[in-house]
């Protein structure tokens, strides 16, 4: 349609990928590239610190790829186990809130009834510059 639609479709489309492996490596050897690791680390803020962790990830993906053995042509995908349930509609009344004190007790630091967070989004360093840092 136009530039934005093209850009949107480049984002990981929901359900579009049939397993990371087939798109990265046509041989299906199950190798995850360094770029993929870096991407996942930034998204999920986890630390794939060791080679074992990456290997475990590859094994997990291989395990779940066995789903491809199931023949699903012409079958509607199930998006939610709740698909036959009725979505309950609540009436528009105020019944909650007013518990600032209780909520603020959960926070490590508060300033005058505000939660305190680090400033903005701290950009992660690049993979080749230094080891990725785990954010608390």
């Amino acid at each position: 349609m136009w530039a934005r639609a093209v850009w949107l479709s480049l984002r990981a489309p929901f359900g579009g990928r049939r397993g990371f492996i087939s798109t990265e490596d046509p041989q299906g050897s199950g190798r995850i590239t360094a770029e993929m690791i870096e991407h996942l680390e930034r998204l999920a803020l986890v630390d794939f610190g060791s080679r074992e962790a990456v290997a475990r990830l590859e094994k997990a993906i291989a395990f779940s790829n066995r789903l491809h053995a199931v023949h699903t042509d012409g079958v509607e995908p199930m998006e939610s186990v709740l698909e036959d349930r009725c979505l309950y509609l609540r009436s528009d009344d105020v019944v909650e809130g007013n518990c600032a004190e209780e909520l603020l007790q959960n926070s490590h630091r508060i300033v005058e009834e505000y939660f305190v967070a680090p400033p903005g989004n701290i950009p992660l360093p690049k993979l080749d510059e230094q080891e990725p840092v785990l954010h608390s």
């Binding site: 984002r11 979505l87 528009d92 305190v116």
Partner: protein, 556 residues
């Protein structure tokens, strides 16, 4: 905050669907600072008046700009989209936050019926197809004001799709030449609002208030059918009026109830669309137009200088009148959309498909909502033009000012005067006074009844129109007097005694025989006589009546 009246009295402008931008060059590739005479007075990008953009010379390539708007409107409801905490503008920090809003473990979203109705109403008003089945998804990103780490939205299957928003734009100077443009509505979806962050750079921290977190938003994604700042501004203004008429959103941009992001790109006609940039931080309609026009100019300049446009997010700095890159949004975002596992599909019904014996609280009937839709601004304007014979410009102005239409209709109810007179007094005199003193209609010292009474006096020829203006000025002082009282106090009544008037005319004619002689040669000299008679009557006679009497006397 009064939005600018965009259409009344606007100078000669002609907006084609493709925005043609010409640049003055002797040759392509000439440096920007060339000493071409045309460039003088056009160097400042931010202030370049749009209608003096020069048409391209033969052989020079044109530019077309494309703007896609994304609008977030806060739904006007008592409680939030998925929780029962209150929706309120100003409240102590974190006092309107439930456990779900703070995303404490073990909490679940429960959909607010009012928000769904608001979405359906808005979809119907914008001619959308309402999806009888829509789905909720999670959009993941990390930011301190999004405690869950994801926002519940409708990415795959939104509640309404494929609509249109019609707005009018000025073409030519004639008031009758109002062309209608439409921008297609790609989709309308329900989503959660995030909390508010207050950046404390001094102490290197951010303070988070979650009062706003979880409030229902309508995201309206418009197709890129808009091609310049003014079109975008008019379209957004019309959307604002529609949302306010429906009651689905207060849609105040300054209060953050209506947020607009613009995706801007330029390209040569016939070629594929260019790289787009996203412009944010637009908190008034005026800045929206300015920012878009600035960004279009910036991109054209950049490309003509051989540069590249980066696919980035930019913020509008209203003090400098320019867009600057936003530091926080570097790199592409992968939102990892997934279905919201805690919410089944949202099913809507119409009268035909309504299940028998269903709990009316638990089902939403689209047909019922369609029947209850209030009158939309376009229809109101048409009705005003038909009913009162006013021009399109007038109908725009009446709807553009808060409470002005109600005021006008109240005056019409109580007065015998002609609609045209009422329109003129309300839009010129009344509105003029309001604007001069920066008052809202609600704060007006003159009530609709008072104005109606004044217009009745004028209509019955009890006072002249200049006297009426004096009375209005007195009324504005709000000293508690009625128009009739002011008229009698200041002796502004028109002379009703025909004989006395004739006597006066006669005596004036006697006193100024040379002027009478002049009239015989120059008919326009009668105005001098009229003036003299008026002075003699202390401005209490109707000039047209004086003229008739004088003419009769002169011809006899």
């Amino acid at each position: 905050m009064a939005a600018p009246v965009l259409c009344s009295g606007c100078p000669q402008r002609c907006w084609a669907l493709v925005w043609v931008y010409g640049r003055c060059r002797h040759r392509r590739g000439a440096p920007v600072g060339s000493t071409c005479n045309w460039m003088r007075g056009q160097s400042s990008v931010a202030q370049q008046p749009l209608h003096t953009a020069r048409k391209p010379r033969k052989g020079e390539p044109e530019w077309a700009a494309v703007v896609g708007l994304e609008i977030h409107a806060q739904i006007s409801s008592n409680s939030k989209l998925f929780s029962g905490s209150q929706v309120c503008f100003a409240a102590p920090p974190n006092s309107l936050v439930s456990f779900f809003d703070a995303s404490l473990p073990g909490t679940l979203p429960v959909l607010n019926r009012r928000c769904v109705e608001a979405a359906v109403m808005t979809g119907l008003a914008l001619n959308c197809h309402i999806n009888k089945k829509s789905l909720f998804d999670r959009k993941h990103y990390f930011y301190a004001d999004l405690p869950a780490g994801y926002q519940i939205t409708q990415h795959r299957l939104p509640i309404a799709v494929n609509g249109s928003l019609a707005y009018s734009s000025c073409a030519g100077t004639k008031q009758s030449q109002m062309t209608t443009r439409t921008v297609r509505v790609k989709q309308i979806q329900l989503e959660q609002d995030s909390g508010k962050s207050l950046h404390d750079d001094l102490r290197s921290q951010t303070l988070i208030d979650l009062n706003r977190a979880g409030i229902g938003l309508l995201e309206l994604v418009l197709e890129p059918d808009v091609s310049c700042g003014e079109e975008a501004a008019t379209a957004v203004r019309e959307l604002q009026l529609i949302l306010q008429a429906l009651g689905t959103s207060h849609a105040g941009m300054a209060e953050g109830q209506l947020r607009v992001d613009a995706n801007v790109s330029v390209h040569r006609p016939g070629e594929p669309l260019g790289i787009r940039t996203e412009v944010k931080n637009l908190n008034s309609i005026r800045f929206l137009a300015k920012a878009i026009d600035y960004e279009i100019q910036r991109q054209i300049q950049e490309l003509e200088n051989g540069g590249e446009i980066l696919n980035e997010t930019r913020s509008f700095d209203y003090k400098l009148g320019c867009t600057v890159p936003m530091r926080d949004k570097e790199g592409k975002q992968d939102y990892r959309f997934m279905p919201e596992p805690n919410l089944p599909p949202l099913l809507l019904y119409d009268t035909a498909s309504l299940p028998a014996g269903a709990d009316s609280q638990q089902v939403i009937n689209i047909d019922q909502i369609r029947e209850r839709l209030p009158e939309l601004p376009r229809v109101t304007r048409e009705r005003l033009v038909q009913q009162y014979g006013m021009s399109w410009d007038h109908s725009f102005t009446l709807l553009n000012e808060v409470d002005l239409l109600a005021f006008f209709q109240n005056v019409m109810k109580e007065t015998r005067a002609e609609p045209k007179k009422v329109t003129s007094w309300v839009l010129n005199t009344f509105l003029g006074y309001l604007k001069q003193q920066n008052l809202a209609v609600r704060e007006s010292p003159v009530t609709a009844s008072a104005l109606a009474e004044l217009l009745d006096l004028l209509d019955s020829k009890a006072i002249s129109s200049s006297a009426a203006k004096q009375v209005f000025e007195e009324l504005w002082k709000n000293e508690g007097k009625t128009p009739a009282q002011i008229v009698s106090e200041k002796k502004l009544e028109l002379m009703q005694d025909q004989e006395a008037l004739e006597q006066l005319c006669h005596s004036v004619m006697q006193a100024h025989p040379h002027v009478v002689m002049d009239v015989k040669g120059n008919p326009r000299a009668i105005n001098k006589l009229i003036g003299l008679v008026r002075k003699a009557t202390l401005s209490r006679a109707d000039p047209t009546v004086i003229k008739t009497i004088l003419e009769r006397k002169l011809s006899s």
